[in-house]
Amino acid sequence: MTTVDSTTGDRIAADRAASAPPVRPHSAERRWVGQSIRRVEDPKFLRGRGGYIADRITPGTLHAAVLRSPHPHARITGFDVAAAQAAPGVHAVITGAQAAQLCDPMPDFGPDPTRHTWRCLAAEKVRYVGEGVAVVVADSRYLAEDALELIEVGYEPLPAVVDPERALDAGVPLVHEALESNCAYERSFDFGDVDRDFAEADLVIRDRLRWHRSGGQPLETVGAIADYDPGTGGFVIETNTLSFTSYLFMVAAALKVPVNRLDIRPAPAGGSFGSKLFANKPAVIAAMCARATGRKVAYIEDRVDNISNCDHHGSDRLYDVELAVMRDGTMRGIKIDTIDDYGAYIQFGVGHHGNALAQVTGPYTIGSVRYRVRAALTNKNQQGAYRGFGSEVNNWMLEQMVDKAARELDLDPAAIRRKNFIRQFPYYIPTGNVYDSGDYDKVLDKALELADYEHWRAEQKRLREQGRYIGIGLISAQERSVFSATEFWFWFDEPAAPVTSTPESVSLKVDTTGGITAILYSCAFWGNSPETMVAQFVAEEFDCDPYDVAVVYHGSGDGLPATGPGGSRTTVMLAGAVEGAAGKIKAKARRAAAHLLEIDEDDLEWADGGFGVRGDPERRKTLGEIAIMLHLFKHSFPADMTSGLDESQVYDHPWTTMPSADRKDLGVFYPFMGHACHIPVVEVDIETGAVTFLHYAAVHDCGTLVNPRSLAGHIVGGTAQGIGTALYEEFVYDTDGQLLSSSYLDYLIPTAMEVPELAIGHVETPSPYTPHGVKGGGEGGRMMAPAAINTAVNDALAPLGVRLTELPMTPERILTALRASRKKG
């Protein structure tokens, strides 16, 4: 890969052209892809037979409960566990110090894992309120929790580091002494000619923006049931995170067993939204307890565990941003300086910022970017994944800047966006990532129409005269899909855990009756619709009824390479894997049919569930007829044909390239680019600070639709979460490091009364590079809603000279801003 440099521009173009996958012809004739069929997953869930992790606990299983630290930061001076060990029904008490002997540190993609070491239980000191310090294993959860209260832990409290900016100062207490700093990582990248663009700009728009931490908070917590076989030294673990065949080695290392002694079997998850991504700690704790007791052990987090000790809080960023613009609204360059409060550990490194760099300039032709990130460590639960993985934060930041630029230049919010839209594809943004296709004008047009934009502008004016504050928000933003793992490590010149392959595999088995079973690897059911997606793709390939396709979630033991859901990749990757496996099945079936019909293979064509003779369609063999022959009468076929009819496809990421050595070009890592426009209409009550929705239009373009209703579900559901992020949800740590919102009384998840009915529109701009032209859309409305709602609130309060720059926009923050403005005014 060459670097971005004007003298080598032609070479870059040639390299890029060579790296692009072939453009696919997409058939417009599709029978199943594009249909809003009922989900094949649903019948069991509707009957209460979902088989979630807690439903799988069998009689005789022991239960584990974790003792959590009440201190944000303290040295552990000792334990007295005698009373707990003697308590009724207790089988074992394991302290953090003992756990450090039994297990190696947790899997960690962070910058320097040996210096910010993360373990399943804290060993020497606790670093946040809620961190586990000991685990009790007992006959029941009740008895385990009884015994927790009998454990005495000696703590020597240390001053807590809470404010991320202060955390970076010299002389503050250190979260990890070995790191000698609370800055776990710092780097600044330049893409394009930033200095020239700023020098030539008519105007530089500046702002300081603050996004506080929230999280996925699925209604089901993370849990695991572990069984240990002392005969083989192997574990079988059921869990509602992934089975991750491709990353299994890291979990095996934590448990100090060879990879082939670990079989992780996925249970359906009662929601994840990212927060169950690689959530291994419960599995490691359960496995450690199973090995220590010789019994099957279940560890299911309770709600306080899942809020305070889940390792999956979302982004927590402070931004200083400058946007270089011309008088006509053209955006030239952007300087982004961000501090991200990672909490006490940093398991995914700054992958969240890698993610943001995939679409850092949004749908706009911004030509240069300076991106500086500092990862602060503080005494809080660590960050993990939450729907958007940092890109939703970038969308919000960028759109607030565009919004501010429009106000300062007195431009219509739609007009300034149109002025800067990318209209030629594939388009390489300054970071080196590519956008495969898009039609942003079309999405905007449709959204304006759905929103009844002119009507609401008139209403806004009319109601303003009545003393009401109506705001119309408008944002156009990206929805990258199908991640490549380079985003985790291009930050490091010598990455600790470099991985570039993010494959997904599917096996298809055709049984003796022609019935098809699809086997998925590393894939858990997460509330997305992998079974429906696969069933629709298989039905499309084989002309069968999607409800006749059986779908099996394979465990990691002898599993094929796979990465599992994340980064809106599942549908595209499963489509590719199904296509590949189906092609192999059809090739074998064609050869078998040709043999059975005594005709040349080339004279056969696939039609209506079988191979028929071209021009003589009555002479045909159905897939079932071929399958039973292949299963039972192998010797009727040429010697080199084997029995059975099953094939697998390992589908590798279809378009990813390596970053340049100097990191001026990060390569292609998130190429299938969705897009959306959200237009919410809100009313702000300036007496109470409450925000209510009067209307909400959302138009998404995720390429070819597979199941429009399912995608609409992601749009509405993601928007509901975005409403939470924008207005209500925050993990609040006070200045001493105590977590104030550790229950749903304080951590406010939107109910049906806070979420409006959405007017939803779809635009379909197929990807030229994926099967059927599909792009991912699983992160849905949460990529857009926080940005959109912020612009709406600011539009409502603009007459008062008030602009909110901090999320969530709670009534308190809105009233504080209004008071400050009155004082100033």
Partner: protein
């Protein structure tokens, strides 16, 4: 231990339970009715909703002994054998579920709503289901499903009479 007698989905049960045993654990672990799920464990989210003598309760903050002598209805009792209850069928038709975890509680709450008001407006359904959190759907298709089920149940009732 305390002796209790409860009727669950029409079937009588007697059991000895600890006074502190939560109703949700009694249903899930002692009776094996794992369709009632545990969400927040402090009575906010409604995931564990069951009907006690026809009224919705949070089974995560109700003791099993409090259910002594009561009739409990859970999601397992909704379908008539192979035939789904109209609410279940409409949840499927309208995709009123994604991960399915809040669904049993939401279905039980919805059945209570329609028992009390067979012809609710969309706004009434929204307000009534605000007792239960759903993290996946944003509620829109749940509202549609409840309204769809209400319509079907009214039609069925008319046909029957």
């Amino acid at each position: 231990m305390t002796a209790i007698s409860v009727t669950v989905n029409g079937r009588p049960h007697t059991a000895q339970v600890e006074p502190r045993r939560l109703l949700v654990d009694f249903l899930r672990e002692d009776l094996g009715l794992v369709g009632t799920h545990i969400g927040c464990e402090h009575g906010v989210c409604g995931t564990c909703t069951v009907l006690l003598d026809g009224r919705s309760i949070r089974s995560c903050i109700t003791l099993a002994v409090q259910a002594d002598g009561a009739e409990i209805s859970t999601v397992e009792g909704l379908a008539d054998g192979a035939e789904l209850h109209p609410l279940q069928d409409e949840f499927s038709e309208k995709q009123g579920l994604q991960c399915g975890y809040c669904t049993p509680g939401m279905l039980m709450r919805a059945s209570e709503i329609l028992a009390g008001n067979p012809d609710p407006s969309p706004a009434e359904v929204r307000e009534a289901i605000a007792s239960n959190l759903c993290r996946c759907t944003g509620y829109q298709f749940i509202v549609e499903a409840v309204l769809g089920a209400a319509e079907r149940m009214r039609a069925e009732k008319e046909t029957a009479s």
